[in-house]
């Protein structure tokens, strides 16, 4: 049995097993097969810009280059955010019990794109889990399966079918817009103004 995710509510530890809510298990799935003229199965690959080198799946890697364009080892680099502040890696949510201390609202859930949903089944403490989500209560906490640079946000709530679910998502960048809000530019549009070239950069 997999290591449980342990939540703590009102002093009671609730070890949970997570079962992914998956489209394939609910509705089945569609596989696309690709055949050539002779009816043979084809695989997807990638062609480099020399027009002859074919890269198979897994035939591409990511490398890091220093500011001088030299190869550098990732272990010599440190992650920072957009403002340059160091990013403190997060540990796995399975490393220690997580207290249910932060309630969330329906607005909070709707302000996240949910990328994973799990049905939770308690190994023990089923009554404590039921009490935690009773009356439509929603709890939130940072969640990371194996640890890493950043955690997702998890929401624990009761589903319409009476089961308890854990939703894992990332925040959306909503904003309120008024009459004077600028019209969004098409991402493909070239916004370069030819009359405003900065020759000082050359």
């Amino acid at each position: 049995m997999a290591k449980p995710l342990v939540l703590v509510h009102d002093g009671t530890e609730i070890p949970l097993q997570l079962e992914k809510v998956d489209r394939t298990k609910l509705y089945g799935w569609v596989e696309t097969e690709v055949h050539d003229d002779k009816g043979r199965r084809c695989d997807m690959a990638q062609l480099t810009d020399d027009g002859r080198t074919i890269v198979p799946r897994g035939g591409r890697a990511i490398a890091y280059l220093s500011a001088q364009g030299m190869w550098c080892d990732k272990s010599s680099l440190a992650p920072v955010d957009a403002e340059g502040a160091p990013i403190v890696p997060v540990v796995s949510s399975y490393a220690a019990p997580i207290p249910l201390a932060t309630p969330a609202t329906v607005d909070d859930v709707l302000a996240h794109d949910i990328r994973l949903a799990y049905r939770v089944a308690p190994d023990a403490g089923a009554e404590a889990l039921a009490a935690a989500v009773r009356g439509g209560a929603i709890w939130t906490f940072p969640y990371s399966f194996r640890g890493g640079l950043e955690a997702d946000q998890a929401f624990l709530l009761e589903g319409a079918d009476g089961h308890v679910f854990l939703l894992v998502g990332r925040p959306c960048a909503f904003e309120y817009v008024g009459l004077r809000a600028p019209v969004w530019a098409d991402e493909g549009e070239d916004l370069t103004d030819d009359d405003d070239l900065d020759f000082g950069m050359i």
């Binding site: 569609v30 890269v55 098409d186």
Partner: protein, 244 residues
């Protein structure tokens, strides 16, 4: 950003903008001097250097082992490690040759993985743009608190106006939905009963419109879902089937 044709509760419609509002956290990597490193894609392997291609060429895996002892047949020092500024997706046949004409077949499988149907692949076409019938205000409202317990909203787009007229149009929709504390199910197609497809070959989603207002500003969000929040049915017990 895409154009989206939307109708309101009075049946009036307008073409407005929809923008994906997913905000990934930007992570940069810096060296000990605080200078930013950059990532590049490099070539790690080519199809001619994969194990099965080498085995086919040498006459079997044992022969490849002998070649590996004698030299480096899996390395092409001229090409491996070179930068890959751009790549194009292609199909290759079992001989690892480029294929120029393909036939695509969708194989439909049920929840047990049993094949149910084979059919020529059909690419879903977008049905939300300005040249399409407006997304219909179906009138099907679902309380917000119930919606998050019934559906998994995996993608969200924000809807915004393109001029003063559409500002009034969208502000009114946001206010109406906020007052009802509900999400509105949207439908695409001439009858308003189709799921929403944003781009060619894209995933069809059920669309739910949410509105919020603050003073003279509004936030109109289109939540997209292709998954219900519910327990999967238990797999049939093969022993029980045998007994039956």
């Amino acid at each position: 950003m895409i154009d989206i044709n939307l109708s309101n509760s009075k049946g009036r419609d307008a073409v407005v903008q929809a923008l994906n509002v997913h905000a990934p956290k930007r992570i940069r990597w810096i060296d000990a001097d605080g200078r930013q490193a950059q990532t590049v894609h490099v070539l790690k392997a080519t199809v001619e250097l994969e194990a099965d291609a080498l085995a086919a060429k040498a006459g079997g895996l044992p022969q490849v082992a002998a070649l590996l002892v004698a030299g480096d047949p899996e390395l092409d020092i001229e090409r491996i490690g070179s930068f890959l500024p751009s790549l194009t997706r292609v199909y290759i046949d079992p001989d690892k040759k480029l294929v120029h004409r393909v036939r695509q077949v969708d194989v439909v499988k049920d929840v047990q993985g049993v094949e149910r149907e084979r059919r020529p692949r059909k690419q879903p076409m977008p049905n939300v743009g300005g040249d399409q019938p407006p997304l219909r205000w179906t009138g099907k409202l679902i309380p917000r608190a119930e919606a998050i317990r019934r559906y998994v909203f995996s993608t969200t787009m924000q809807i915004a106006h393109v001029n003063g007229l559409t500002y009034d149009f969208l502000f009114g929709m946001a206010k109406e939905l906020e007052d009802k504390d509900s999400l509105l199910r949207l439908g695409a197609g001439p009858k308003g009963n189709q799921r929403l497809v944003m781009r060619r070959g894209g995933i069809p989603y059920y669309g739910f419109l949410e509105g919020r207002t603050r003073g003279e500003t509004y936030c109109l969000a289109l939540h997209l879902s292709n998954l219900e929040l519910k327990k999967a049915p238990d797999a049939p017990d093969p022993d029980a089937e045998g007994k039956a």
